[in-house]
């Protein structure tokens, strides 16, 4: 048994330290003397580098230390994964590009063709995190007016068509959202491997589609018992359809040589959170069930970082330090490895790990945490064999 470990490309800029909220890598914060990619020379001229150059560094770091690739998120104010992946195709060797994709973004037949081309360009290193969007004003920002369950209906049909086009010539389909007559990939593109599909979404509608289509069901980290229940539910559904569901966890780590150092960094980061940041994360309109499960931790109301420790090494305030979900793992290298092992015992087959800053933390976690994995899970792994 082996477990898939991915890293993450921060597509909304990155911070050089978890202590401060300013994006000094990339151009998401106002330009300053410390900014890089783009940076500013002594003469205040831009230095000619772009954020993609920093992403290239992270991707190369991740593949060097043994991550299979990275998740590339897609939100209104991020750079785009469909462009990042082919841009970085030729300067990476084994890094797999996990494109976050909402079916509403593109026609499934066109997307299948583009995917096959990207497979060729990368030597089969394309995969997807299929997302369905959080609804509310953000959905209409994207030009998508579908309601929550309709969006999942569309996601399901979109995946039917995407797969159908891939597997044959003369594929036809009559759905509620898509009608296709005689579709297929052109001969030149027909030999490419179908991309692995990861799938995110926590609602009832999401789990249904996941059981039918997902290679990996991906969840943000949640309190372990809650996550175990959720995985059990998806696995059960998929088993009922005659399949075997793999599950995966997307989680940030603050891993340090000692636990004290890890909490110290959390404390400093927490103390530097501004009220503006708190308010920004408070009450964002969404119909996402997954987001509601994270918000239930109520990180924006906490006054002390200790109030957000929900279990040993689990801290629920990550969204105050950077965009994304609330819960993450904090501890010594050994403790972080032990928590990941525990998640493996509870049914995780894959991980998307991240840490801030993404470049340096890819090296740190790759060199210090990944080598410790499997010690705690070994008895269970043996049992599974």
């Amino acid at each position: 048994m082996s477990i898939d470990f991915y890293w993450r490309l921060p597509t909304h800029g990155c911070h050089s330290s978890i202590h401060r909220g300013s994006y000094d890598r990339g151009d998401w914060s106002p330009p300053g003397p410390h900014n890089i990619a783009p940076g500013f020379g002594r003469d205040q001229e831009e230095d000619g580098f772009a954020y993609i150059d920093h992403l290239a560094e992270i991707a190369k770091a991740a593949e060097s230390v043994g991550f299979l690739g990275g998740l590339i998120p897609s939100f209104p104010n991020t750079d785009d994964p469909w462009v990042i992946s082919p841009l970085l195709a030729r300067e990476t060797k084994s890094f797999r590009f996990m494109i976050a994709f909402q079916p509403g973004f593109g026609n499934p037949v066109h997307t299948a063709r583009a995917t096959a081309s990207l497979q060729r360009a990368t030597g089969g290193r394309t995969l997807f995190n299929i997302i369905t969007g959080g609804g509310g004003p953000a959905q209409l920002w994207w030009g998508d007016s579908f309601a929550h369950d309709d969006r999942y209906g569309r996601t399901s049909e979109w995946l039917d068509v995407f797969r159908g086009v891939w597997s044959g010539e003369g594929f036809s389909y009559r759905g509620r959202f898509y009608q296709v007559d005689g579709a297929g990939l052109p001969a030149l593109l027909r030999e490419e491997e179908f991309p692995e599909l990861w799938f995110s979404g926590s609602s009832e509608a999401a789990l249904q589609v996941a059981s039918k289509h997902a290679d990996y069901y991906l969840s943000w980290l949640e309190p372990f018992d809650q996550l175990t229940d959720k995985f059990a539910k998806v696995k059960e559904r998929t088993a009922a359809l005659g399949g075997e569901q793999k599950c995966a966890v997307r989680v940030d780590l603050v891993a340090r040589p000692t636990e004290e150092e890890a909490w110290r960094d959390i404390r400093i980061g927490f103390e530097n959170v501004t009220d503006a940041t708190r308010n920004q994360w408070r009450g964002q309109a969404t119909d996402s069930v997954g987001a509601a499960r994270q918000a239930a931790l109520r990180p924006t109301e906490a006054r002390r970082y200790e109030d957000l420790i929900v279990a040993p090494n689990l801290w629920g305030g990550f969204n105050l330090l950077r965009g994304g979900p609330a819960l993450g793992i904090v501890g010594s290298y050994e403790q972080c490895a032990a928590r990941l092992d525990e998640l493996i015992q509870r049914g995780a087959d894959g991980f998307i790990l991240a840490g801030t800053p993404h470049l340096e933390e890819a090296w740190r976690i790759g060199e210090e945490v990944l080598p410790l994995l499997g010690r705690n899970a070994s008895s269970l792994l043996q049992a599974a064999e």
């Binding site: 990339g26 151009d27 998401w28 000619g48 772009a50 954020y51 993609i52 209104p76 104010n77 750079d79 785009d80 469909w82 462009v83 990042i84 992946s85 082919p86 841009l87 970085l88 195709a89 030729r90 300067e91 509403g104 973004f105 593109g106 026609n107 499934p108 037949v109 066109h110 997307t111 063709r113 583009a114 096959a116 081309s117 990207l118 060729r120 360009a121 030597g123 004003p137 209409l140 920002w141 994207w142 030009g143 998508d144 007016s145 068509v161 389909y173 898509y178 009608q179 296709v180 007559d181 005689g182 579709a183 297929g184 052109p186 001969a187 030149l188 593109l189």
Partner: protein
């Protein structure tokens, strides 16, 4: 008037080039250590680098349903080749206009503004059905119009709201830094009235197909007028196959072997440079040139034709 030259990278023209598995097997005598990871994308990158090195201003990637996706190729080659503009062509049926515009921002940001957009002509009804594109003939023009309105709208304005028949956006529009660079230069094409009217409203450059000079002159005048009515300026371009050699005789000989594309200008470096200069005199400022094999011919055109074209059109400018 400055002349811009683009070399065409046609993904359907030579799909077998540099694809080890699709080429004739080398005889066992030849020790062959190529890997599957070496493939046609190496060739595309090579073409773009060749275009950059030989003085083209950009490369143009026509939309080809039976071959690689132009926008994927565009991103791959843009990172591989410095300086040049990369213009993939794609149809307005690709999906969300907001998403397409957002992809364009990443491309612009990552390449220092070297991206262009060319909208491909609409497919026929059978092709559209095979592409899951559920739209009637009579709505195609309107869709492209809305697609472009929304794409430029979300780039240039915030909040941007639009409710059309094909696209709907509410309180949309990009924030900094996504829109730090301008919207890509937009290339449209087509010879009929509807196409020209669309260009008058949206295009930065209208690309004509190779045609006799009188026809081009008339079309240019017509579009110029439509654009003026819309209070805009549109630059004129031409998609022009060429076949050039040192001497006209060599070029003719090569053409007799079937090497010239449809409507190609065939002749010596000097002769074809003079032909293109006459077209420039009509008002054409953007030339999309093509010839296969694209690599060798690209070097030929870039090294020998372009300098002559630039010196002839430059001389005209100096006189004017």
């Amino acid at each position: 008037m400055t002349i811009s030259s683009y070399w065409q990278i046609d993904t359907a023209a030579e799909p077998r080039r540099a694809e080890p598995s699709l080429r004739p097997r080398l005889p066992a005598l030849v020790r062959d250590r190529r890997r599957p990871s070496q493939n046609r994308f190496d060739y595309y990158a090579q073409l773009a680098q060749a275009a950059a090195q030989t003085g083209f201003d950009g490369v143009f990637l026509p939309y080809r349903r039976d071959a690689d996706e132009s926008r994927i190729v565009a991103a791959v080659v843009a990172r591989a080749a410095p300086r040049i503009v990369v213009v993939p062509e794609f149809p307005a049926s690709v999906g969300s206009a907001v998403y397409a515009a957002k992809q364009a921002t990443t491309f612009q940001r990552s390449t220092g503004g070297r991206f262009g957009w060319a909208i491909a002509p609409d497919a026929d009804a059978a092709t559209r059905a095979a592409e899951g594109d559920d739209i009637g003939d009579d709505a195609l023009h309107e869709r492209t119009d809305e697609f472009l309105t929304v794409a430029r709208g979300v780039h240039d304005r915030r909040p941007f709201t639009f409710a059309g028949r094909h696209f709907e956006v509410k309180d949309g529009g990009f924030d900094a830094p996504l829109n730090r660079l301008p919207f890509p230069k937009l290339f449209l094409q087509g010879e009929d009235e509807k196409a020209l009217a669309l260009s008058a409203r949206h295009a930065d450059v209208h690309l004509f197909r190779a045609a006799p000079a009188e026809r081009l002159a008339a079309a240019i005048a017509w579009l110029g007028e439509l654009a003026a009515q819309a209070g805009r300026r549109v630059a004129f371009g031409l998609i022009q196959p060429v076949l050039v050699r040192e001497t006209e005789e060599e070029a003719r000989q090569e053409a007799a072997r079937g090497a010239a594309g449809e409507g190609a200008l065939v002749g010596s470096f000097d002769g074809v440079a003079a032909d293109l200069t006459r077209l420039a005199d009509l008002g054409i400022s953007h030339f999309v040139l093509s010839s296969t094999p694209s690599l060798e011919e690209g070097y030929r055109v870039g090294q020998h034709l372009l300098p002559r074209l630039h010196s002839l059109t430059g001389a005209r400018r100096a006189v004017a």
